[in-house]
């Protein structure tokens, strides 16, 4: 792996370029570079990207159209009381920005994404569309068997797209490649938690977004480079308060919202952006049956979020408290997309847990195209001030 001498500013600028490019030029070029290549898009929160990779295809994370996409057609498909991500995603599809995509996976996150899978089938009949169901029971014999078979069906679907078999060997290699990427992302999060002034969240965010469109090997290289650059740079440490952000796992906040939170005096030390990159908590074993290994990791060692059922009442919300403790956070900022049932129904349960252990929190809603950041900045600023005030000995 070649490590260049780019600084964080240059790396971030490149990530910003990728982030702004709604034509997905890099992915298009990747596909065009060799015959037989394909691209499979996926939406939040989790799909086993290893399978796409092992098929010799590029997994492409689609997180809506963001704040700069003008939605014209998409609004004709969605009522005003439905979140924005499905309409901007449809806009991308209808305006041909995803016309190079061979397959599209819609993970089991909520009814909106689920129903979007059907819309996609009707509108783009030539694309391989799969609603990717995941288990909500975490027992190997039930949820596990179901999940292995779902992955097997996905595998066969992808084989059909490329006309090539996905061997166990290829899958094992892909697992190893993604293990490395997950390790690097874990390092990135650990560094930010340790020294948040070295890894501003707006940069971390863009770096993760780059991972949605770049081949994983290139992304791993980019993260490696960033980690080295970030640790080599001197950046001033501010008297900010440390917060965990929660609820941003699907429709994305405008980048300015993240910047506004940082500028208001908060260091974000954990978040739930792009969970696909950190979903599996440890390395997935490379030896053995690859689908079985991915299933075991999903069942027993994966992140928690609203889209997953928590079977144990005592464990409900514990992950958030653990995150607060492990990252030395002083408060939680809940930010959720408007009309997002999963995030907004989860929030009161999480708030109760935080109240029980005296962790302060605030909450607001956003849309991917929210323009006004002043209220967010003020709210977060007041929150940060109050935390500092009360935590001063």
């Amino acid at each position: 792996m070649t490590v260049t001498n780019r600084g964080t500013a240059q790396i971030t600028a490149w990530c910003q370029e990728l982030f702004d490019d709604l034509d997905f030029t890099v992915a298009r070029k990747w596909k065009a570079a060799a015959p037989g290549r394909g691209v499979v898009a996926y939406m939040p929160v989790y799909v086993p990207r290893e399978l796409i990779h092992a098929a010799g295809m590029l997994p492409l994370g689609i997180l809506g159209g963001g704040e700069n996409l003008e939605v014209i057609h998409g609004d004709a498909y969605y009522q005003s009381y439905i979140c924005r991500i499905p309409r901007s995603t449809l806009e991308l599809g209808i305006t041909g920005k995803l016309d190079f995509v061979d397959g599209f996976l819609f993970p089991s996150i909520c009814d909106v994404i689920r129903n979007l899978s059907g819309i996609w089938k009707l509108l783009f009949p030539k694309v391989y569309v799969r609603y990717f169901d995941v288990p909500q029971t975490y027992v190997d014999d039930t949820g596990g068997s179901f999940y292995v078979q779902e992955m097997q069906e996905l595998r066969e679907g992808l084989e059909h797209v490329t006309g090539r078999k996905i061997t166990d060997e290829a899958l094992r290699d892909s697992i190893a490649v993604y293990n490395q990427n997950r390790r690097l992302i874990r390092d990135l999060y650990a560094l930010r938690s340790r020294a948040p002034w070295l890894v501003p969240t707006s940069e971390l965010y863009l770096l993760l977004r780059a991972g949605m469109v770049l081949p994983v090997e290139e992304h791993s290289q980019l993260v490696t480079e960033y980690l080295a650059a970030a640790q080599a740079e001197q950046r001033p440490m501010r008297d900010n308060c440390r917060v965990v952000m929660n609820g941003l796992f699907c429709e994305q906040p405008p980048l300015n919202l993240i910047k506004a939170i940082e500028m208001s005096g908060c260091y974000v030390v954990d978040d739930d952006f792009m969970l696909v990159t950190r979903w599996l908590l440890d390395d997935v074993p490379v030896a053995g049956d690859p689908l079985q290994n991915l299933s075991t990791a999903f069942l027993h060692r994966s992140m928690e979020t609203s889209a997953k059922y928590q079977p144990d009442l005592a464990q409900k919300g514990k992950y958030l408290i653990d995150s607060v403790r492990e990252n030395g956070a002083e408060g939680v900022i809940f930010a959720a997309p408007s009309f997002c049932d999963p995030a907004l129904l989860e929030r009161p349960m999480l708030e109760t847990r935080l109240d029980a252990v005296d962790v302060p929190h605030i909450g607001f809603k956003y849309a991917e195209n929210s323009g006004q950041m002043q209220p967010v900045r003020e709210q977060a600023g007041t929150f940060a001030d109050s935390i500092k005030l009360w935590s001063t000995p």
Binding site: S108, G118, K121, L122, Q136, Y309, K316, F339
Partner: protein
């Protein structure tokens, strides 16, 4: 089949009209009484959802079946849901989320009073049949927070590709065997007897036959029923705590008899203002009704001579009109297939196919969508459904927006205007078809 009529009946028609209604009212009242008196009788109570409602299985454990959605509907119709929703919002629930959930949580916060005026007991078990709606999962996690009682997750995979696979079915059956049944045994103290389940399933199938007959009677002209406003009453027993009981079988036998008689007399549906006289428009309706202004909403239809001949809402607790019946010979598999087949567990293309089928089979003039503000499961994608149906059938569609139980989102004037212009559109369409012919 003619229903028995008591000798001292005032007039044959009135009695015929009321027998099934009276029967259903008695059944519902008796169930609420059984639930609210559970603390005295010692009976155990399960809470579960309408789609994927495994009433036959719950009965095997002598469990009473309490359905929070039905409580929300009852509270909507009694116009108290608005207060409950306010209460839930005061307690931190977002204005954006499903109002059934908030009506339920608000009701719990305000004493949890059942429609019979008595407090609902704490459930002994929550059976989270996770069928066709993501919100169900969050709803029961929230309820579990309150009651801290055993909660069973029964995951029903979504029919995304328009078919039930062996993997889906065996996953449900395994969950039933390994988790649902053992937990219900533990909670209830009753040993599972598969023959008892078979008996109930046999009973279910009988009621289902008559139920389908009733719903399909709307193919006739004039239609003897309204398959939406009347339909929501007809689904009552089979979608709730009665499927598998003799009472339900009897209810549908009575109902079928009544409809047969209406057909014989050439009568239209019964409305709150008596028999519907003229039937100018035959509609297929997609989406749940509004409950807070149910009567007013219905009146907007029958006043204009619009009868609903088929609706998707009457399939949320099971889709029977394409041949599915509970099968006592494959008791657990049939429960799986039942859950997999409920309307909201069907992919969007399947929903379009079903509605297209209704448009043709019931010779409808158009598709009306009642889009529910707070229900993503139904609403996300309905504009696409409308386009597809218009394209496939050449018949006009219309879109109105209300809510289930939140009175803030029912604007009578808007809905009425929209309906009136829709009926005009149908008239115009007819004229242009006639002049082209």
């Amino acid at each position: 089949m003619t229903p028995k009529t008591p000798a001292a009946a005032p007039s044959p028609r009135e009695v015929v009209k009321e027998l099934s209604m009276v029967k259903q009212k008695e059944m519902i009242a008796a169930n609420y009484d059984a639930i609210t008196s559970a603390p005295e009788t010692g009976r155990k109570v399960a809470s579960t959802f309408v789609p994927g409602n495994l009433n036959e299985l719950l009965m095997c454990f002598d469990l009473l079946n309490n359905l929070p959605e039905i409580n929300a509907i009852q509270n909507g119709m009694k116009k108290v849901s608005g207060d409950y929703i306010n209460e839930a919002e005061k307690r931190g629930h977002s204005e954006d989320v499903c109002t059934y959930v908030k009506a339920d949580l608000g009701m719990m916060a305000k004493g949890n009073i059942a429609p019979n005026g008595k407090p609902l007991p704490r459930p002994d078990v929550l059976l989270l049949s996770y069928t066709g709606c993501f919100t169900f999962m969050k709803w029961f996690e929230l309820v579990r927070d309150e009651y801290k009682c055993p909660t069973i997750m029964l995951q029903v995979p979504y029919q995304a590709d328009g078919k039930i696979t062996a993997n889906m079915r065996s996953y449900i059956v395994k969950q039933l065997k390994d988790d649902v049944i053992p937990t219900l045994e533990k909670v209830s103290g009753v040993k599972f007897d598969i023959d008892r389940l078979r008996e109930y399933l046999r009973e279910s199938a009988k009621a289902e036959d008559d139920f389908v007959w009733v719903m399909q009677s709307a193919k006739k002209k004039p239609s003897p029923i309204d398959a939406y406003f009347g339909g929501v009453y007809y689904i009552g027993p089979i979608f709730t705590a009665f499927r598998g009981t003799r009472d339900a079988t009897e209810y549908y036998r009575l109902l079928r008899g009544e409809i047969e008689e209406r057909i014989a007399k050439g009568l239209g549906p019964v409305t709150p203002e008596g028999d519907m006289k003229s039937q100018k428009y035959r509609l297929v309706v997609e989406g749940p009704p509004n409950w807070t202004s149910f009567r007013e909403f219905w009146k907007m239809f029958y006043d204009e001579g619009a009868v609903v001949v088929a609706s998707s809402y009457t399939k949320v607790g099971g889709t029977y009109d394409f041949g599915f019946r509970h099968d006592p010979d494959h008791p657990l598999e049939t429960l799986a297939d039942y859950c997999l087949g409920v309307y909201t567990n069907r992919s969007l293309p399947m929903r379009v196919d079903l509605l297209e089928n209704y448009m043709r089979e019931y010779d409808a003039d158009g598709l009306l969508i009642n889009s529910i503000k707070s229900c993503n499961s139904f609403s996300a994608g309905q504009l696409m459904i409308m386009r597809e149906i218009e394209k496939r059938t050449g018949k006009p569609g219309a879109f109105i927006e209300t809510d289930l139980v939140d009175p803030r989102y029912f604007s009578a004037a808007n809905v009425k205007n929209r309906l009136e212009s829709y009926f005009q559109m149908i008239d115009q369409k007819r004229k242009s078809v006639a002049s082209a012919a």
